[in-house]
């Protein structure tokens, strides 16, 4: 079933074009997407769950779901965001099973974004401090941890994080702002300085 595709051929195509080919029946190209995203999704999962066997199982389920539902993917949008959305749902379900779930109702998504200063927030780049953040993340509540992971570790923009979590961009901003405040306190306790 699987055929070999030249590296050149694959690099020419972006994820969305590959997904479109999969949709139109070139199933074997799905392997290209698996290989490209396997590591990223596993890394994303490790921020939620400690058990690597659990993570491997869930990552497999994520790609199986992606394959099953690939015809619902709108190729005008980013494939990575769509895949992270599936991953988000799967990891949240796993967290729920472990009784460590996100609340159904969240005040951050309820109110308009008066608390979030977009320009100030996006100019303050924490990417250089990413290695330190990693140490403090485990102590952060999942609802704050996830946008930080997606933005600082998976390099997703605020808009893309908003698409993955299906919350307003302003909520992403508020959560990252609060996450940084909380992490500062946690890191200080752990004797790291942000």
């Amino acid at each position: 079933m699987r055929e070999n595709f030249s590296q050149e051929n694959i690099e020419e195509n972006n994820d969305e074009k590959i997904a479109k080919s999969v949709q139109s029946g070139k199933v074997e190209l799905f392997g290209v997407l698996i290989e490209k995203y396997e590591g990223k999704i596993k890394r994303y999962g490790r921020k939620f769950l400690a058990d690597s066997e659990d993570i491997n199982d869930i990552v497999q389920d994520i790609f199986l779901k992606a394959y099953e539902n690939i015809k619902s993917f709108d190729t005008k949008r980013k494939f990575s965001t769509w895949l992270y959305r599936i991953a988000h749902n799967e990891f949240i379900n796993a967290l729920k099973k472990k009784k460590n779930f996100l609340p159904l109702f969240d005040l951050d998504t309820f109110l308009p974004s008066a608390l979030w200063d977009k320009t100030l927030e996006q100019n303050t780049d924490l990417k250089e401090t990413a290695p330190f953040i990693d140490f403090c993340l485990d102590n952060l509540a999942p609802k704050y941890r996830e946008p930080v992971i997606l933005h600082y570790f998976e390099d997703l923009s605020y808009q893309e994080v908003s698409d993955v979590l299906e919350v307003p961009v302003s909520t992403v901003g508020i959560r990252i702002k609060r996450a940084k405040e909380k992490m500062k306190k946690i890191c200080e306790k752990l004797e790291y300085k942000l």
């Binding site: 491997n56 497999q60 790609f63 199986l64 099953e68 109110l111 307003p168």
Partner: protein
């Protein structure tokens, strides 16, 4: 959950093995179109149901006269609270919350804070409900229920037959008599209203034959000892000739 015991095997191989065995199949586009259509239909149905409920609550409060009770002072307000359709209000709130949850799956909804979408839903429900209440929709349905032509709607319109509503009457004065007046109620009964020195007239308007009034007071058979009488604008009269003439005639024949 699939147990991945063989770590040496690549994820890609595992997945393609399942695909080849037919354990996982790509869902057709039609499946997702149908799912989206179902989601839209459920939202539309929910909106229709909420509009029906809100407009019914408003119709019920006005048509039964409950709406005007607070103008009779504390006693009126207490009866108003007692007769207020709390269950229907709670049901409406639950349905609004369900609608909010149903609409959250659409990106144009979740991209904005819940505050805005909830406010929009509440505004649509309240404004839409009041607009529908001003039409002949509910008087029409009430008439059909009374004729037995709408058995499914019966339970909701039976609110008008609640025994507690005997203390509130809404109708048109047919004749002013020495001890008070005779009035024809919304559902065609002829009642004698007795006015006493304690009877309250919140708006001091003189009442005469042909006026629409709400009367609050203790009722025994066809006589009401009025605690309060208030003249009101009869917004249902325009529907009355068309829709309520017949039951009134039936009642007249019986009497």
């Amino acid at each position: 959950m699939t147990k991945n015991l063989n770590n040496k095997k690549s994820l890609s191989d595992e997945i393609f093995k399942k695909i080849e065995k037919g354990q996982v199949k790509m869902r057709p586009k039609f499946y997702f179109v149908l799912k989206a259509l179902l989601a839209v239909c459920s939202v539309v149905l929910m909106i229709v149901f909420i509009l029906f409920l809100i407009s019914f609550i408003s119709f019920y409060l006005r048509a039964s006269g409950i709406w005007y009770l607070p103008s009779f002072g504390l006693r009126g307000f207490a009866i108003y609270l007692k007769l207020f359709p709390w269950l229907l209000i709670i049901l409406s709130i639950i349905l609004i919350l369900i609608l909010e949850t149903l609409t959250r799956r659409f990106s144009f909804v979740w991209r904005r804070p819940i505050f805005y979408s909830l406010l929009t839903i509440i505004l649509i429900a309240v404004v839409g409900g009041f607009v529908i209440e001003k039409t002949s929709f509910h008087p029409d349905l009430l008439w059909r229920v009374q004729e037995g032509r709408l058995p499914l709607m019966g339970p909701i319109y039976r609110q008008f037959n609640r025994s507690e509503l005997r203390d509130v009457q809404r109708g048109i004065i047919e004749e002013v008599v020495e001890e008070g007046f005779k009035m024809r109620t919304f559902d065609g009964q002829l009642l004698t209203v007795i006015l006493t020195q304690e009877t309250r007239f919140p708006f001091e308007k003189e009442i005469e034959s042909g006026d629409s009034v709400v009367v609050m007071g203790e009722r025994k058979n066809d006589t009401v000892w009025a605690f309060g009488v208030r003249g009101i604008e009869d917004e249902f009269r325009k529907f009355e000739r068309r829709h309520f003439r017949s039951p009134m005639r039936q009642n007249n024949k019986v009497k």
